[in-house]
Symmetry: C2
Subunit: 108 residues, 2 copies
DNA sequence: TAATTATATAAGCATATTATTATATGTTAA
DNA sequence: TTAACATATAATAATATGCTTATATAATTA
């Protein structure tokens, strides 16, 4: 493939990773699937805020989404080789883990 | 180490990688050392522009610098594990390679 | 069907980012 | 010491980013 689109894609991927909110989301997604409504609580940002971040993560190929009833479930896309490479290097937050466990979130 | 400073450092590293100019610099630094004046020509940005990017790359631990006379020589810091992991995944630009070879740059 | 809940999109604002120009610092050599 | 060249820092302007609120779309359930 030509150079320009490839380097631009790399830049975009790193831009997506270069944001605290999005990194926190990726870390939280390890080992579980989450919905937008689960994340609003943990991250303390608005629903549209989370929704926009998920769209960005999805567009970059870092997360898969599937609709399940009225929810959309997001999971890590471990087939993404960059993500597979980097995920093990990301620090986990006990704080965020606690919050996600405690949260009654959106009802099941 | 505590979580916050670690995740913040990761975010900063990815931010540094999430810029086309800086990625081009890292790719060009593979296998050679370069000075600011070498890069201004290839990148077509001003000397202070390059200087600022190099400072950012250095602060993030991606490049080493050493003074040699009136110049400062930059090299990749392959001891940086994130960089070591990612460098092989970056596409090279024949265009940029040509330019760096051709360039009379700053005299030796 | 109408009401409720989840998510997406649009517009707007505050802040961050990347370049520029102007100027200062540091090194070499006449 | 002075002139010439390389690099660094400061101030600034244009653009990008990440959130917000308001509103639209989609699925569920009374």
């Amino acid at each position: 493939m030509a150079y320009e689109p490839r380097i631009d894609a790399m830049v975009e991927r790193f831009k997506v990773l270069g944001d605290k909110t999005r990194l926190r989301i990726l870390v939280l997604l390890q080992g579980r699937e989450l919905r937008v409504c689960d994340l609003t609580e943990v991250l303390s940002i608005s629903q549209p805020g989370v929704s926009q971040q998920m769209r960005r993560l999805h567009k970059a190929g870092f997360v898969n989404e599937r609709r399940g009833g009225q929810w959309i479930y997001y999971t890590l896309n471990m087939e993404n080789s960059l993500l597979a490479l980097l995920i093990p290097t990301l620090p986990k937050s006990e704080e965020d883990e606690k919050k996600i466990m405690m949260s009654k979130g959106c009802p099941t």
